[in-house]
């Protein structure tokens, strides 16, 4: 069944993880932006959690005011480029586009958004400068979207901002948790560098704030602390065998993959437990890493899965098989005839009635 061979080089990896929302060229952006109706009180805007003025930026693209479009986007969302690529637009702006009601393809808002912002990032078009120092200092814990956005906003108001993050690279989930076919690491880091250059916050990497003393120290040195800690580890199953070799949490697996790309090896058969979006990603990614059989096992019915439909469809499209109403009771390992340790033989599952 495997559509994908295990990637051995970075270019294999890139082709296995080709971008779902590739960058538009200017002709495509022009044609697509031409279709937007410039709706009044546009439903796409209302569906955008950051409230980007979508009809405005699309009209700016259409009149070849690309930097104006980028500014409109960044004004509402500092992660404008990443969001264009990784947001579940199908259930947000694009899902709300009026074209859906006439069975016409909705405007590709996400890709237009990335188009405009990428132009500004590549051209190094800087829109923001921090305000004069107001004498106050804020510590931000976590360099993910929340922490960085908070820092940008504070800098515009004259606060000094130090951001602490346990990872070696910024942007949290975007860098470490988003499937590689949604955005490349370069794109993520380019936008981070672009923001850092404009807003001038200080980033302290590989700095884990975990102990009470750490917090106490921050409290002494800063006027305020912002907690931007979104990305946790995978929740535990609490079943026997969870700590066997080759049993991973999806979040950890994805992070490993994001950082080490083709150096990660994925075995031929993979079972993913869970029905959320992270499970879908882990399953898709396993298949794209060359796993021959990938089964997605979920304890309830397909309809009850937390994942977006299009995420499940995406997983299916690369050969992932769904298995529903099954709960794992144990992960087992055994030694085979030549005494080689096989990580696990399988699951004992309980069928739900």
């Amino acid at each position: 069944m495997s559509e994908f061979l295990p990637p051995h080089t970075e270019s294999d990896f890139e082709s296995n993880f080709s971008q779902l929302k590739p960058l538009m060229n200017s002709t495509e952006a022009y044609y697509e932006s031409s279709r937007c109706l410039f709706c009044y009180d546009a439903p796409c805007v209302n569906a955008c959690p950051t409230g980007i003025d979508i009809p405005l930026f699309i009209r700016q693209i259409n009149s070849d005011n690309i930097f104006g479009a980028a500014k409109t986007i960044f004004d509402s969302n500092y992660f404008g480029h990443a969001c264009g690529k990784v947001c579940p637009t199908e259930v947000l702006c694009e899902g709300a586009c009026v074209y859906n009601h006439s069975d016409v393809k909705p405007i590709e808002i996400g890709r237009l958004q990335s188009y405009a912002t990428a132009k500004a990032i590549v051209a190094d078009k800087l829109f923001y400068t921090p305000a004069a120092k107001n004498g106050k200092k804020v510590a931000v814990i976590g360099a993910g979207p929340a922490g960085i956005s908070c820092a940008c906003e504070l800098r515009l108001h004259g606060y000094e901002v130090d951001i602490f993050d346990s990872k070696a690279m910024p942007s949290g989930l975007t860098m470490h948790g988003v499937a590689p076919y949604k955005i490349t690491n370069e794109d993520v880091l380019d936008e981070m560098a672009y923001l850092e250059k404009q807003f001038g916050y200080r980033l302290f990497h590989n700095t884990t704030i975990s102990a009470k003393e750490d917090i106490d120290q921050l409290q002494r040195n800063y006027d305020a602390i912002f907690l931007g800690i979104g990305l946790g580890s995978t929740s535990e199953l609490n079943i026997p065998g969870e700590d066997l070799e080759n049993v991973f949490g999806a979040v950890e697996f994805i992070e490993e993959l994001k950082i080490h790309h083709h150096f990660v090896s994925v075995p031929k058969k993979v079972i993913v437990l869970g029905g959320g979006n992270t499970a879908m990603d882990a399953a898709s990614e396993s298949a794209r890493m060359g796993a021959e059989r990938v089964i997605l096992a979920y304890r309830r019915s397909r309809e009850e899965m937390g994942a977006y439909d299009f995420e499940y469809e995406l997983a299916k499209s690369v050969g992932v098989k769904g298995m529903f109403n099954v709960s794992p009771v144990e992960i087992m390992s055994f030694e085979d005839s030549v005494n080689q340790k096989v990580p696990f033989r399988g699951f004992r599952v309980k069928q739900r009635h």
Partner: protein
Amino acid sequence: MANLQSNLAGIKSPNPFWLASAPPTNSGYQVMKAFDAGWGGAVWKTLGVPVVNVSSRYGSVNYRNSRMIGFNNIELITDRPLRDNLREITEVKKRFPDHAVIASLMVETKEQWHEIMRQVTDAGADGVELNFGCPHGMCERGMGSAVGQEPKVLKTIVSWVKEVATIPVIVKLTPNITDITRPAVAAVEGGGDAISLINTIQSLVGVDIDNFVPYPVVDGKSTNGGYCGPAVKPIAMNMLKNCAQNPNVTIPISGIGGIENWRDAVEFILLGATNVQVCTAVMHYGFGIIRELTDGLERYMDEKGFQTIDDMRGLALPNIKHWEDLNLKYKVVASINPDKCIGCQLCYTACEDGAHQAIGLSTNLSDRIPHIIEENCVGCNLCSLVCPVEECITMERRDDGTETKTWADRTAAGNIPTTFNDELAGGLHHWVPEPGDALKKRVPRHYKVSGE
């Protein structure tokens, strides 16, 4: 089956679709190819003393994702020797004896007109078209639109040509004039056998805003050009109608200007054109569009039961009245079909900001379907024009159709507003909101002035 045969002042062609005098008729090669593709006739690229053209000749107006909705050129008449053109005319006529080949002409002196008439007639042309239209370059030399704008001069030149003409003479008019019927009547008086209109409209299609020079750019400079393509069609049709309705324009009309598909052609014919000529659409899409043109026209004629082009010619003319003869009792109001509405609310802003505040937004957050406030609706059509869904907003008739009263009737009855605050004003009892209400209106959260 409808008969598409066309006869303009004795010039016959298998169908009413001619190529207008322009780059597509520059050579025998192109005209043969066009006839082979199905075109009925061709007006040769204007002949005369050959010119020297500039490089960088065209500019265009693009509208959103549509290219070349308007097209502009600064090209002159043919730059090829007359001898070559004549030889090719003869060759084309030999191979396509039933197709119309018209020689377009532009020269200066009486002697030249006589000489060139003799030569193109000998070459086998079925007729000539006098180019009094070119609005750039040639007019600076006293030809083209410089003639078309002077009815007296135009009449004189037509009569020179008619002194020697043995084939029909078509006079091509420039639209760069206030009253198109004056040169049209002059053409009749000079003895012309037909008129054709419109030639291009003087234009600048755009300015390079980085270098401050209009298009097309010729070594950093530009000049006005002639405008054509779909954008000019409404102007061409109005001029066509003016000529077709004028009792002194007694000769047939060849319609030109923005024709791209069969519907355009039908409209021109309904407005009185005997045949039509096409340029920009061919420059955009090639000769192959003739397949759609003839097929569409034929189907339309069959559907309507027209045997010949003449059966349908001018049928729209009796329905074009002066404003004062329109029925003021006629009353339509907009109606939104909620099943078709997609909730873009464009109709709302159009009426709210650009018309009569006669559309209200839905109070039901889930559907976004606006509603018409009938008592405010003046029936202007605007909302139905901006609605992106076909047939979603329709205009419904509200008067019972029994009463007719025109401005002319009211004037005759002394029943029209005549003073500044006249009680007879049309909008007097029409509701308008108080100015200050505008500032109380809730607007979407992102509709803020930038920088606020």
